[in-house]
Symmetry: C2
Subunit: 345 residues, 2 copies
């Protein structure tokens, strides 16, 4: 199948290019160091409250050999969505901003793009034309920016972008627009024998370029959407060529499928922030042992962004309706998080 013929929810959202705010009036706060985790408080960026308590109690139970809820270390699997759960997703999924920047940087070698959509609209910053972009144009955008190069070339390009591009509101590299409370959860779980995985609709090779440094999650514990690749031999050189065809969309029902395929065990802890994560949380909830399901609710317009049921990016609607039924803990960024970003908020 071609990318154009099976675009995921994530990918269809370049539509939102046309909807991104022209500017944001808020000023980022001055930097300050986050509080330091200690044995007595492993989650110092969390305010005392139900959410923090539930995380602490869950970990205490599954790591206590005397508890009926004890889970052996090798089976302590925790999965995390990325966009909106570990790092921000506004004004637009960061990977789409990468694709847009890449069109701009490649434009000199593609004079034909000046007359061809969606490239023309990106190069002219024509928000009206971008708003009309359909699946076919989006497929072209991703094929032009994500395929036709080797896996190693793509990683180098993505790394270069992360080293130079800056978030339009927070004016920092995108791999610093990550949530301090979630970094503490990752460290806390790992210190308690958990293996932590990303499972996101974002591109798997894109995320692997920063997940280890940003989150301490090595490449083989990053699961995401992927395109097809082909093994090639040219003389003594061997490499994987990235093809303009979607292999797997790691979103919604795809998340439990990918978790089973990559990890091979049902997670006992799962963290998300949108309806695209609901099936992953249901999968964890359907286990027969102690389990923890968490949805991060973006309700903090002052320190980050506020959006949920009506949002086209990271919509959280069914998730809020179904939270009680599946025992999902809904975290209020505003009330439950003392700090949002590692550099202060």
């Amino acid at each position: 199948m071609t990318i154009a013929s099976k675009i995921t929810g994530l990918m269809a959202l370049t539509l939102l290019l046309a909807c991104s705010p022209p500017g944001d009036e808020r000023q980022p706060a001055a930097a300050s160091d986050p509080p330091e985790a200690t044995p007595s408080d492993p989650l110092p960026s969390w305010n005392d409250g139900d959410a923090k308590q539930q995380i602490l109690e869950f970990v205490a139970q599954v790591t206590n050999p005397a508890s009926p809820a004890f889970v052996p270390a090798g089976e302590r699997i925790a999965t995390f969505d990325n966009d909106g759960t570990l790092w921000a997703e506004r004004p637009l999924y960061f990977q789409l901003l990468f694709a847009v920047d890449r069109v701009r940087s490649m434009a000199d070698d593609h004079p034909e793009w000046r007359a061809e959509q969606p490239f023309k609209a990106i190069l002219e910053d024509d928000r009206e034309a971008l708003g009309k972009m359909g699946h076919a144009e989006l497929g072209q955008l991703l094929a032009a920016t994500h395929a036709g190069i080797t896996a190693e070339e793509f990683s180098a390009i993505a790394r270069g972008w992360l080293d130079t591009a800056r978030h339009p509101l927070f004016d920092r590299p995108f791999n610093e627009i990550i949530y301090q409370p979630m970094l503490e959860v990752l460290s806390y779980l790992r210190a308690n024998g958990f293996k932590t995985f990303i499972t996101s609709a974002g591109g798997i090779e894109f995320m692997r370029t920063f997940a280890e440094k940003a989150y301490g999650i090595p490449p083989d514990q990053v699961i995401g959407s992927s395109i097809e690749t082909e093994f090639r031999v040219e003389g003594d050189r061997t490499f994987l060529m990235r093809l303009p065809e979607l292999h797997f969309a790691d979103d919604k029902e795809g998340k439990p499928v990918a978790i089973n395929r990559y990890i091979g065990q049902r997670p006992i802890a799962a963290f998300g922030n949108s309806d695209g994560d609901l099936q992953m949380l249901q999968y964890a909830a359907g286990g027969d042992r102690a389990r923890l399901m968490v949805l991060v609710h973006h309700d903090d317009a002052e320190r980050e962004y506020a959006y949920d049921r009506e949002s086209r990016i990271g919509r959280l609607d069914k998730g809020l309706d179904e939270a009680d039924r599946w025992g999902i803990t809904v975290v209020s960024m505003k009330d439950d998080w003392r700090t949002v970003f590692p550099w202060g908020s």
Copy 2:
């Protein structure tokens, strides 16, 4: 695609059911403990020689921070084929013996199988009919024995088989027909900061049921062929249903593709035993750092089996021709291995 429409090399080999020897005259040797690994000799089941020396030198180089060949710990990735590399594959791939046993155990619930191929031939042990089995029948065999149940049900069934079935020649559980010298290599690499992965044409969920106990490789570090699964919600129950459709054949060109997809880094060490592993070894060989590629040559008719260029199981033909060109170390089981199995040989 259906299983029947895209059968892998591995799977097509039920044909070999008809060719498996009616009996083997050899008597398994009495059990004895393998020699113990020590810091001065981490590979005591290997005879001194080029193969052992190359493994030791490679590890010494990549772990020495003062060496130009040094590789940081997080990038020390080693991949291992399973059938014929970590455990035996004769008289037939063990997973096919599992499928045959499963047909027999399910037969009471399927009276129609007495008149339907390939089930009839299996139930009647009709080697002539089995020899005529084509791809369509093989697809039916795998669909009947590997799909139509949940992922967790399948794992329980596979575990039960491994607990009871015994190898026809060595008269031990199949998960004990593993190679002591390779267990030593796995331990030695891990002790030196390597992350060890299986990448095999065998079924991913089948291998995950024993890889941790047999090899110390956790489920998420096992890569293999897979069928499609579907996420389902029934009341409060959530599960993955196994479907009778092939998702991915992890063989030949598929191995580098899967390594990139699952691991996200090019291995610096790769171990195989057949032409199905050649592309994985070429992928490792094409890296620009110190690297080690190994082919286990089954040339030991006395302690295990002897086969290579003409074999239909685990054929090693191109691999022998290409070994020099790609810098592949060919290990002679007969000459390089002091011991074959953990229980003596």
